[in-house]
């Protein structure tokens, strides 16, 4: 095992690719011999971030691009999920539990809350009309 490594993946904003993104991140991080829980947490967080890019960033257009960068240094894991979608007006508000701009979904507004509880830290950078980057870190046991 080496103590630092990184990779990047790039894929269409098709919800079909969510599973691919989760597995790619999990396969990469398996180099750290994580526990079932740790990998589960990371996969949940990645799913939420990717879903947000697809649904909110790109309004469900399946032909845009999403980037994920994943790196570790010793047991500190960093994951970035990036889109060039419509961006977030008010990040603090967006990150509040139960805040959502979706109207349909009943269990909405908890994506960022899930990311925050699964990962140690979640930082969101976003510019309206430019896109959003979510950077999440977690130290594996």
């Amino acid at each position: 095992m080496q103590n630092s490594n990184d990779m990047q993946i790039e894929f269409a904003s098709n919800s079909l690719n969510e599973s691919f993104a989760r597995v790619a991140v999990a396969a990469f991080l398996s180099q750290l011999d994580p526990t079932v829980d740790e990998l589960y947490d990371v996969k949940m967080a990645v799913s939420e971030a990717v879903t947000n890019s697809i649904i909110h960033g790109y309004d469900a257009d399946p032909n845009r691009t999403i980037w994920i960068r994943c790196a570790y240094s010793d047991r500190l894991v960093t994951i970035e999920v990036k889109d060039e979608g419509k961006g977030i007006k008010n990040i603090d508000e967006a990150m509040q539990a139960l805040f959502t701009t979706s109207e349909e979904d009943e269990r909405a507004g908890l994506g960022f809350t899930v990311m925050q509880s699964m990962m140690d830290q979640v930082v969101v950078e976003s510019e309206v009309g430019k896109g959003t980057k979510v950077t999440m870190t977690k130290t594996f046991y």
Binding site: S19, V23, A26, P34, T35, V36, D41, S117
Partner: protein, 77 residues
Amino acid sequence: VGEIKRFLRDDGMIKVSRSLKETAYKAKMMKDELCKSLDREPTMNEVAAGLDLPLEEVIVALEANTEIESLSAVIHQ
């Protein structure tokens, strides 16, 4: 939230690598079984359905198999 998570999942501290080896073995058995019963190569989805596991887990488990197989190929060559 951490406590709730641990409460919900008692397999929490198990290493992925260990649980994968079990799934890898089951996936190989299921593949062979389906090969016979269907009289053709099973698809990934059929193997996953047979094991009642998400497709993702089977993909990752078969990778664990690849490593086991290539390792044994090296040992037995």
